[in-house]
Amino acid sequence: MTAAPAAAPEALEIRVEGVSKVFGAVQALEGVSLTIEAGEFVTFIGPSGCGKTTLLKMIAGLIRPDAGRILIGGRPVEGPGHDRSLVFQDHALMPWTSILRNVAFGLELRGVPKAERQAAARRYIAKVKLTGFEQHYPHQLSGGMQQRAGLARALAVNPRILLMDEPFASVDEQTRRLFQDDLLAVWGEERRTVVFVTHSMEEAVYLSDRVFLISPRPGRLVEVLEVPLPRPRADHGVRGDPGFTRLVERVWDTLKKLQ
């Protein structure tokens, strides 16, 4: 890592090819194929149980497909790897240790020396505006702050692909909007590939370059929506733009039929 604002690690392309997954009697995913360009910010959205989190975890390498495969930068996914990082819905911070150690944990597992990994952790803690809370324990932080710590941890390992599983689901509306803008600001600095899972249609359209709509049982890709709104989204007052509202309603029109 260089001292100057680092050149982004080359973001990676993701190809999902004919992926299927069955859990017991449930067809969680069926023949899903899609491509995510390097550096793109995309969202998976769909009704509960539509397999979007399953697909995200497959990209992460936590679950293996029953059929089909996933390629990252042209290479098949065999398991978790250094190129990918995940932000969990319930923060998944280790309650028995400090925020600093939590954020540095990915680096610790890779054997990065203590001084170096703590310095990196502090940088990312600053990026998510948690400076001053390094020595706190997770239970001493609010839900929103815990989620920010989870994001810092995911960023600290410098992944080429950032995977996010409904990270703002348990946060109130106002805080959620602030987090969305913070996330886009952080993403804008280095433009990694981001795959974001959400239930919220506004969130999906506001954040993404493209939105993938997935149907439940069996989980299928039903539509891909382009979001040609200008970036940075916050600076252009996108929420007030009629184009934004039209896109959100387009998403709802499709999702409505899937309920």
Partner: protein
């Protein structure tokens, strides 16, 4: 143990005050000379002091303590890895479950003659008895602790590339530590019981031997003095584990 019963809110008397009526009753019944086996507490206290002074108690206790520490230490060394393995691997749990259930539920004192047959009439039998009494509760609690680890923390460790050793040392052990300490607490109590039972049945050394001797020779006061010593020992063992718990778990 005097002082605050809690932090702030309630300023009532300390916990052990509830024992006072029992002690008073003991003294009263003893003086009333109701039975040979219920001497007054005050005379027990005098005898205890005498035994402490002439070295009988310390000599018996030192042998007991060695067996206790060795047996309990071994129970931790075996029990924690085994409990962890059972918590993580279905196959291991399947194989070991019957043995753990036997150790938890069977009257273990019945096993002591088998141990004597195996090891001979020696103090190793006491260490083995301590081990058997303590290990199952340690295993069960450790297994429960490991099974109860948050699934998303396990996934998180996988995502960030933890090796099996890192998994065990950095995730499973710290996460299961509260449960392990509960197991250690209960295990310490069981270990003391096992120590006394083993010594009584072997009748060679330690506090157990004294219990059998004084019982057989109807030295009731001496008998009670030794029983009280065993109780205090058990309470001290529990308190030590409690201190370890406070020192290790500061994050709850």
């Amino acid at each position: 143990m005097s002082g605050a019963a809690g932090t702030g809110a309630r300023r009532g008397p300390p916990g052990w005050v509830s024992l006072v009526p029992l002690l008073v009753l003991w003294e009263a019944v003893g003086r009333a000379d109701v039975a040979l086996f219920i001497p007054p507490l005050s005379r027990v206290a005098v005898t205890w002091w005498k035994l402490a002074g002439d070295g009988t108690l310390w000599k018996a206790m030192s042998t007991s303590l060695v067996a206790l520490v060795q047996g309990f230490g071994l129970a931790l060394l075996v029990g924690i890895p085994l409990g962890t393995a059972m918590g993580r691997l279905r196959a291991v749990q399947y194989v070991c479950d019957p043995y753990v259930n036997v150790l938890t539920s069977a009257p273990l004192s019945a096993l002591v003659p088998i141990l004597i047959a195996l090891f001979g009439v020696k103090d190793t039998v006491v260490m083995a008895t301590v081990f058997l009494f303590a290990v199952s509760v340690i295993v069960v609690n450790c297994m429960a602790g490991v099974k109860g680890v948050d699934r998303s923390i396990l996934e998180m460790a996988r995502v960030f590339g933890a090796t099996p050793l890192q998994f065990f040392a950095k995730i499973l052990l710290p996460a299961a530590l509260p449960a392990i300490l509960v197991g250690a607490h209960l295990g310490a109590m069981q270990a003391v019981k096992g120590m006394v039972v083993g010594e009584m049945l072997v009748s060679l050394v330690g506090l157990g031997e004294r219990l059998v001797y004084y019982g057989n020779t109807f030295l009731i006061l001496h008998l009670y003095a030794v029983i009280l010593t065993v109780v205090v020992l058990a309470l001290l063992a529990a308190q030590l584990v409690h201190l370890a718990d406070r020192a290790l778990i500061r994050w709850k």
